[in-house]
């Protein structure tokens, strides 16, 4: 069984889509291929990898309530290619939006389902995740914590470093639990070629706290990037 993971993020590295696809991939057996579509130059390569595939798992960010424009262009080419080559696939999708409510991914899921109907693919379901940027921040924080843990172990010994690291790890895992659970569940469904339905989850934080954290995050980034001094909130 061949599964192709298609990352639809335009970012070269550290994209949340690649992170989430990586979690789905943990439980997927058989031949696995990872591809990324960033522009039209990637189309031919990715389409060729679909020729002998059984399953496709899309990972993409939510842009203005829907599929990013460069992915729509790819999907239309994929439709033509798969119909011409009589390719029938099981399709899954993991999408993530910046807003906290995972259900804001619902229009994107519907578009993917309509796409599957047009292509005669089997729509197997998707996971829509809210608070994607924060999940990415958590991942980066985990890497920093892991580095500090190694440093602390060398300086103070394992018994002193471990409880601190364990506490930090639990916090990161807790906030990301919903995303991890549904991504791993999708990985199991991919192995069986089964339907996993459309599920929505989020960073496990109350929305008013999430908004506060997001506002602070953007203030800090805007200070560093200088936007705050250039009529940050004004009508231009």
């Amino acid at each position: 069984m061949k599964t192709v993971f298609i990352n639809g993020s335009p970012k070269k590295k550290l994209s949340i889509s690649s992170y989430l696809l990586g979690i789905v991939r943990l439980l997927v057996r058989g031949e696995v291929v990872s591809e990324q579509v960033r522009n039209a130059g990637d189309h031919e390569r990715v389409l060729q990898s679909l020729k002998d595939a059984d399953t496709v798992v899309f990972g993409m960010p939510l842009y203005v309530d829907g599929v990013p424009s460069h992915m729509l262009a790819f999907m239309r080419e994929m439709e033509k290619f798969c119909i011409d080559n009589n390719i029938h696939l099981n399709v899954y999708v993991v999408s993530n939006g910046g807003f906290i409510e995972g259900c804001q991914n619902r229009p994107l899921m519907q578009v993917l389902e309509n796409f599957c109907k047009r292509c005669n693919f089997q729509w197997r379901g998707g996971v829509g995740i809210g608070g994607g940027v924060m999940l990415n921040v958590m991942r980066i924080m985990f890497l920093i914590y892991a580095g500090l843990f190694v440093l602390n172990t060398v300086m103070s010994g394992l018994t002193a470093a471990l409880p601190i690291f364990a506490e930090q790890l639990v916090v990161v895992l807790f906030f990301s639990l919903g995303a991890f659970f549904y991504c791993l569940r999708m990985g199991r469904a991919v192995n069986k070629g089964a339907t996993c339905g459309v599920k929505f989850t989020r960073v496990l934080l109350p929305s008013f706290l999430f908004i506060l954290a997001a506002d602070i995050f953007f203030v800090i980034i805007s200070i560093f990037q200088g936007g705050i001094f250039k009529g940050w909130l004004s009508r231009k």
Binding site: V64, Q104, V111, L112, F115, K117, K230, R235
Partner: protein
């Protein structure tokens, strides 16, 4: 490329000054049809964006919020498009149907226009959204042409409803056109 940007800026400010002086209701049309339709749309509305697909997709960098507000770092014809969309009272979109959503070229214009909002968040429609840099707008109207199924119609209507909330439009309308000849009789 730089000439295009300057030309666009002059065009944009000319429209803004005219609308302020006359107290006009500002309307913008985005379409993905060929150039022959430009004259039709320009006869109905001064502010027309032809989405010809000759520009880069959004890179998701948030620079239009955090680095150079309401301006994209990609220096092409869409660099300032969020300002034009932000100032409009009524946005009309004419697009090919792609599985119940906009065509890639029209979606690209929308993806590149998130500078209409600020990085700050609020609740709108009981859900999290960004606050609006240019305030609330009147109406979003979408005409979809091309082959469309019943499921795609429902998806498209839902998409337009979601977009209206996101952009701060108070009303929205969605129509599907069975053929493009209908476009001439549409009252934009």
């Amino acid at each position: 490329m730089r000439f295009e940007v300057y030309a666009f800026l002059i065009y944009e400010y000319k429209i803004l000054i005219a609308s302020v002086l006359k107290g006009e209701h500002m309307k913008t049309i985005i379409h993905d049809l060929d150039e022959s339709y430009d004259s039709l749309f320009k006869s109905k509305c001064e502010n027309v964006i032809r989405a010809d697909g000759r520009y880069a997709p959004c890179q998701g960098c948030f620079g239009c919020w955090t680095k150079h507000p309401a301006q994209c770092y990609l220096k092409d014809a869409l660099q300032m498009v969020c300002r034009m969309i932000g100032k409009t009272d009524e946005l009309v979109i004419v697009t090919d149907n792609y599985y119940g959503t906009y065509s890639p070229s029209v979606k690209n214009v929308l993806d590149r226009s998130i500078g209409v909002s600020t990085p700050f968040s609020t609740y709108r429609g009981k859900q999290m959204h960004h606050t609006l840099r240019y305030g609330k707008k009147k109406k979003l109207v979408v005409y979809a042409y091309g082959c469309i199924t019943e499921d795609e119609k429902q998806t498209f209507r839902y998409m337009v409803e979601r977009n209206a909330i996101n952009y701060g439009f108070q009303e929205f309308e969605f129509y599907n056109l069975e053929n493009l000849n209908q476009m001439e009789n549409v009252e934009l």
